[in-house]
Amino acid sequence: MLRLITLALVGAVLIAAPLFLEPHSIGVLTTALIAALFAMAFNLLSGRAGMLSFGHAAYFAIGGFAVIHTMQAVESGAIWLPTPLVPLMGGVAGLIGGLGAGFFATRRSGVYFSMVTLALAEMLHALAPNLGGFFGGEVGLTSMRMPWLAFDYGSENQVYFTVLAWTVFGIALLYAYNQTLFGRLTVGLRESERRISFLGYNAHHTKIIVFGVSAMFSGIAGGLLAFATESMNYSMLGMGMSASVVLHTFVGGSTVFLGPALGALIFALFGSLVSDLTKNWLLYQGILFVLIMMFMGDGLAMLWIRIVNECRSRNWDALRQRVLLLIPGLLITVGAITILEVTSKILDQQQYATSVARMNAWPPVSVFGVSWDPTSALTWLLPLVAILVGIGFVYLILARKMQQRTGTIIMSREPAR
């Protein structure tokens, strides 16, 4: 019930968004939705089927390029296709690319699978600038959205609603897929491939199909990006795109169905908010990912579910502990951000070096609206003390939890492998 209410609320906010957001924010939301669909498609392969792909940008970009070519063909009148259906071509191209690549990649499993996907994507990325015919060389390709019926696709809102419809449709299809027998088989691949074979299924063929479906939805997402930006460049094939989808998926949580979408939305909104404040926002994304991998392997969606469950079962102790952990967590975050920002502003070679040369002194830099003098020890000591105090508090709280649970403090040590 709570789940349905949350979903309805999110849906209502997404539909009503153009009423209270300016066009720029709608653009951000559009890219966030595309990233969400891409992450959901990626998670079908990496989370549910347990095959970690490090080259998913390839299928995303193939879809995008297919859509750009389709749009060019529609523009020149060579073919007739309603504009809102154009992203479908991305799905078709992604499916074909995914089935081809999947045939090779799925012959290996585990870390070898990850390496094959990486190699395939890197190969395509290195080849693309030389294949100007399809990938448009270094400059890329551009096209125009053609008007269809009453829609001229000139405004941000019309593009936004098309992307929203496609994203919701794609995620609904993925949900339906998971409910089918084949969806259960997909999870079976992750849990025990051998048992799948013993049940009489062809594990290799199943893997290829899962790879193809995942690539198809990635292709649709790529097609939506091409549709929204009206341009495509070979840099979309690069490692950065493959890395970002991995980050989105695992920060959101690969074990919960909507986890990857949540991760993508959080990162896209985080990116658009923080990138105005600091140029180090990618660094913060990376640090967030590393911390989540280390301390909370199942992601933010699982954290949310745990908190909801604790509220339901009236587990006030656990909730109080989370609130208690928030305070030192905030201390560590503020301390770390202060040190990083002050350092980064001083090291910003051009700007700071010129002002040092001009004033013949080290001018203070402003972070959080407070100006920090780089020559005073306080600037460096204060955040450092905040971090250390924060870490100390976390240890104290965790040690008390251990003590309450077992009566003694456990010296935890990992067993030797």
């Binding site: 395939l120 030389n130 991998m293 030797a416 492998r417």
Partner: protein, 313 residues
């Protein structure tokens, strides 16, 4: 003739440099079963740190100190990060190293800027060592080769001729048995991770001045080091050595070739038809050189997944 000799020498130097990076990667994989995505980031860190230390002091101090700092970073990563998620399985460790690589790249951008830096060989090594067929062979390349060969010799002696080496090699093969015999296997892991990181740092310190030093160097080196390790056989040092030289030579030779599939088709009389189709068929080998290593890795993974010298999959 000139092309062959110069390309061979260049490929040899590049291959030796590759070996310095991939030796640590393959050892770490053999022991922990983890492909360390952050290994090439350590190489990048070595290059940047030695650049900064060289500017403050001199080349030799940079060469000495930078790899030691990188080794410390590597030990920190193993002890406080990777070991934490050990119980959660390999994919969690893989993802963690992936995240670390991402963070290191961004940290480098913060400290040194998002552009290539001018890390050049020191003055006394910038001349020509010898002249061959009218081509000056830079003495810095000779220096890189000497460093790599010295390191290779030391690694060989350490692993093959000492007691530590026997224990390390045994832990690569059967960690549980070595542990049962009373050796501290986690400590050995830590040591190997540190040495691997040190070698990567040293490779960066000498290689940064030979190749370019930029925030993307880690991602580029990462793919090539993976190719080396996969082609050689994951966990095999000899395999890594052979495939490093192989890929070094392949890269340096392919840059010079202006042959395309269409030219090949010409031999059989289909040249014009192939040229009309265009696309892949008219690309010459030189413009393919960046994707050749990945292609090689694909072929090896699909035909002989254990690699040249590997004995397990």
């Amino acid at each position: 003739m000139e092309f062959i000799v110069v390309s061979t020498l260049n490929g040899f130097v590049y291959g030796l440099l590759l070996f310095m990076v991939s030796a640590g990667l393959t050892l770490i994989f053999g022991m922990m079963g983890v492909v360390n995505f952050a290994h090439a980031s350590l190489y990048m860190l070595g290059a940047y740190l030695s650049f900064t230390i060289t500017r403050a002091t001199n080349f030799w101090v940079g060469l000495l100190i930078a790899p030691l700092i990188v080794a410390t970073v590597g030990i920190f990563i193993e002890r406080f990060m990777l070991r934490r998620v050990h119980g959660f399985g390999h994919s969690q460790q893989l993802l963690l190293t992936f995240g670390i690589a991402f963070v290191v790249e961004e940290v480098v951008k913060v400290f040194w800027g998002n552009f290539p830096i001018a890390y050049r060989p020191p003055g006394f090594l910038s001349g020509a060592a010898f002249t061959i067929f009218g081509t000056n062979f830079p003495s810095y390349r000779v220096f890189v080769a000497v460093v790599a060969i010295l390191l290779l010799g030391m690694l060989y002696l350490l692993l093959q001729k000492t007691r530590i080496g026997i224990i390390v090699r045994a832990s690569v093969q059967r960690p549980a048995m070595v542990s049962a015999l009373g050796h501290n296997v986690p400590l050995i892991f830590l040591g190997v991770f540190g040495v691997g990181a040190w070698m990567a740092g040293l490779a960066g310190a000498v290689g940064g001045a030979l190749l370019t030093t930029s925030p993307t160097m880690a991602a580029e080196m990462s793919v090539i080091a993976f190719v080396v390790v996969v082609v050689g056989g994951l966990g095999s040092l000899l395999g890594a050595f052979i495939s490093s030289l192989l890929i070094g030579l392949l890269t340096s030779f392919s840059v010079g070739f202006q042959v395309s599939l269409a030219d090949l088709a010409n031999v059989f009389g289909f040249g014009d038809a192939a040229r009309r189709i265009g696309g892949l068929l008219t690309l010459d080998v030189a413009s393919l050189s960046a994707s050749l290593p990945a292609l090689l890795m694909l072929i090896v993974l699909l035909t002989r997944p254990a690699g040249l010298m590997g004995d397990r999959n």
